[in-house]
């Protein structure tokens, strides 16, 4: 008995592992023959590729001079294609002297997004800020009010268009997807069948064909003289498409909920709507954050498909610069630039989702 209690008393410190750089390298890169070989091969490949890439991109490169000097030093990157055409790539055919307006609109958008990152700021006032911001952005882009010159939507293009399609597309698709997922689980037969039909039909077609339908086939059915804005049609196609995928992911989350959670909420007297809002959805949506974000990220990138219906989004403005004889042949640099912009968008989304997951996983 005595020996036993003596044993219990001694709380041992966890054993110290030898860390430090050498320890880390040994533990992670050279722990075993196979891993050591792999590490050496990787180092060799990096040594072969990274220095030449840096040389091309930063040392031999042309940054601001015209295309002529680019062609004189073909061994380096020609970033001039970006710097010389910057405003066209970003703003497309938006009237040159009015391009401050989409710029201000984007600044408003980014400020709102940035401010909304912190969940502590999610209050009613933030909702009002968003509504005001959206109206302001609309006025800035469209004009025709407050003494701003009107700009046709056919002239919208570049980054503002991409952001418009993406931000509206994703924020509208998400709630629609949740509603569809709930519809698919509904006890009401009609609602259930309609939801299933919708989800399966949409998932059975590629986004490109939806975009074609919205831009070519759909107008055929409209009475003469009535036209619906092309951007709006593309926007609706993106929303409908993304929502179907989100619905299936959310359904997975809903299936993860036990019957007991519904029953406990109902036993407290919560009605169906409150049960969903306070008990079921917060848990179900949290479980499916990672797959949801994958869908949102791919939807963001898929907005570039609107090029096929001749909307001048970021990708299309870049392509038209490349079709200019003066800049032909510098597609590497141009596409790299676009890739960086898309990457920044996607990376911040996935980064944010991880932050959100961390915050929500307490408990």
């Amino acid at each position: 008995m005595e020996a036993l209690s003596a044993n219990i008393k001694e709380d041992l410190k966890p054993p110290r592992v030898n860390i430090g750089i050498i320890g880390w390298v040994r533990a992670n890169l050279f722990n075993g023959v196979f891993n050591s070989i792999l590490t050496i091969v990787m180092l060799f490949l990096l040594w072969k590729t990274i220095p030449p890439l840096l040389q091309w991109a930063f040392i031999d490169s042309t940054w601001l001079a015209g295309s002529a000097s680019c062609r004189q030093s073909p061994e380096g990157a020609c970033w001039s294609i970006i710097s010389k055409n910057f405003r066209f790539i970003i703003f497309g055919f938006y009237p040159y002297e009015l391009q401050w307006r989409p710029l201000v609109a984007m600044i408003i958008l980014f400020s709102l997004l940035f401010y909304s990152r912190n969940r502590n700021n999610w209050k009613k006032s933030l909702g009002y800020a968003w509504i005001t911001g959206l109206i302001l952005m609309g006025i800035l882009m469209k004009g025709g009010l407050l003494g701003l010159k009107s700009v046709e939507t056919t002239q919208w293009g570049g980054l503002p268009l991409t952001l418009l399609l993406a931000v509206f597309g994703l924020t509208a698709a998400y709630p629609l997807g949740v509603v569809l997922a709930l519809g698919r689980q509904s006890k009401m037969k009609g609602v259930k069948v309609l939801s299933i039909l919708y989800i399966e039909l949409i998932r059975g077609v590629p986004l490109i064909s939806l975009l074609f339908m919205s831009s070519i086939i759909f107008p055929l059915f409209l009475p003469e003289g009535i036209t619906i804005n092309k951007i709006l049609r593309a926007q609706v196609a993106i929303i409908l498409f993304t929502a179907a995928y989100i619905a299936e992911v959310v359904r997975g989350g809903l299936q993860g909920m036990t019957q007991g959670q519904y029953e406990a909420a109902e036993a407290l007297g919560l009605n169906y709507y409150l049960t969903l809002r306070l008990v079921i959805l917060p848990q179900a949506l949290k479980i499916v954050i990672p797959p949801t974000v994958s869908i949102l990220i791919s939807a963001f990138k898929d907005t570039s498909l609107v090029v096929i219906i001749a909307l001048f989004d970021l990708l299309k403005t870049t392509q038209s610069v490349l079709s200019n004889p003066e800049w032909m042949g510098f597609s590497r640099e141009a596409y790299m630039f676009i890739a960086i912009l898309y990457f920044a968008g996607c990376f911040s989304m996935s980064n944010y989702s991880r932050k959100l997951e961390r915050e929500l996983s307490r408990g």
Binding site: G260, E263, A264, L268, L270, L278, V279
Partner: protein, 257 residues
């Protein structure tokens, strides 16, 4: 009824029914689970239901707050008949607390949020008042120091006590317990039973499905024995355990005691 409860510790049942069930039937598909249940529960009465697995005990008490729907007969709770009227169902559910075998706490909410959810959203209690009440009930079940934790950080016994407190926060007129201790390790059963015994002594109307015969003996006014969807025997705990009338009751008691 009054006679049955004479001499019991704690409050006596009053002759004033709060739950009335008459000739109630329930089917799951073609399977006849409850076959004509007649049961009247008086205010402040405490009833223990026992019986073999699959006999319909859970289904019976789940019909009382409409987690299951009965197909025939009549159930009245606090003078409101249970029909498809959603408003009535919600009303009855606010008056009837339920404690489940698996606790069913909301894992995404802290303990205090679990407790205040119903009062704030259903009873429309102001948040500060709801939290004050919640702390009162947490103290009552001896876990006020856990208020800010999440359910996953608590032991089973603590979680079940939280679940009881969560129901009490709604200020119910009746409490239903469906095998509240059978998912617990033996050393935690007592802490939950103690809370339930305290509750009994304060005069709560309780219907408890349990095989804890010690609990039945010390607080129940009546013990019901169910088998094959029927109430086979009803008796005082003293009579029930020492002098069971029905053959099936005898067999059951010989197996569990």
């Amino acid at each position: 009824m009054n006679k049955l409860s004479k001499g019991k510790r704690g409050n006596q049942a009053i002759d004033d029914p709060i739950i009335e069930i008459s000739n109630m039937h329930k089917w799951f598909g073609d399977f006849h689970v409850l076959k004509g249940i007649d049961l009247t529960v008086q205010k402040k009465e405490r009833i223990v239901i026992c019986g073999p697995s699959g006999s319909g005990k859970s289904t019976l008490i789940r019909c009382i707050n409409r987690l299951e729907e009965h197909q025939k007969g009549k159930i009245t709770v606090d003078n409101i008949e249970l029909t498809n009227n959603v408003k009535n169902i919600e009303k009855i559910r606010t008056e009837v607390g339920m404690v489940f075998q698996n606790f069913n706490l909301f894992p995404h909410l802290t303990i205090i949020e679990n407790l205040t959810l119903g009062p704030i959203w259903v009873r429309k209690t102001p948040k500060a008042k709801a939290e004050e009440d919640a702390m009162f009930y947490l103290k009552k079940v001896n876990i006020e120091e856990q208020a800010k934790k999440y359910p996953g950080q608590l032991s089973g016994g603590q979680q079940q006590r939280v679940a009881i407190a969560r129901s009490l926060c709604m200020n119910p007129k009746v409490m239903l317990f469906d095998e509240p201790t059978s998912a617990l390790d033996p050393e935690m059963i007592k802490e939950v039973l103690d809370v339930m015994i305290d509750l009994a002594h304060e005069g709560m109307t309780m219907i408890v499905v349990t095989h804890e015969m010690g609990f039945a003996k010390s607080v129940a006014h009546r013990v019901l024995f169910m088998d094959f969807g029927q109430i086979v025997e009803t008796n005082t705990p003293e009579e029930f355990f020492t002098n069971p009338q029905n053959e099936r009751t005898k067999l059951f008691l010989s197996q569990i005691l």
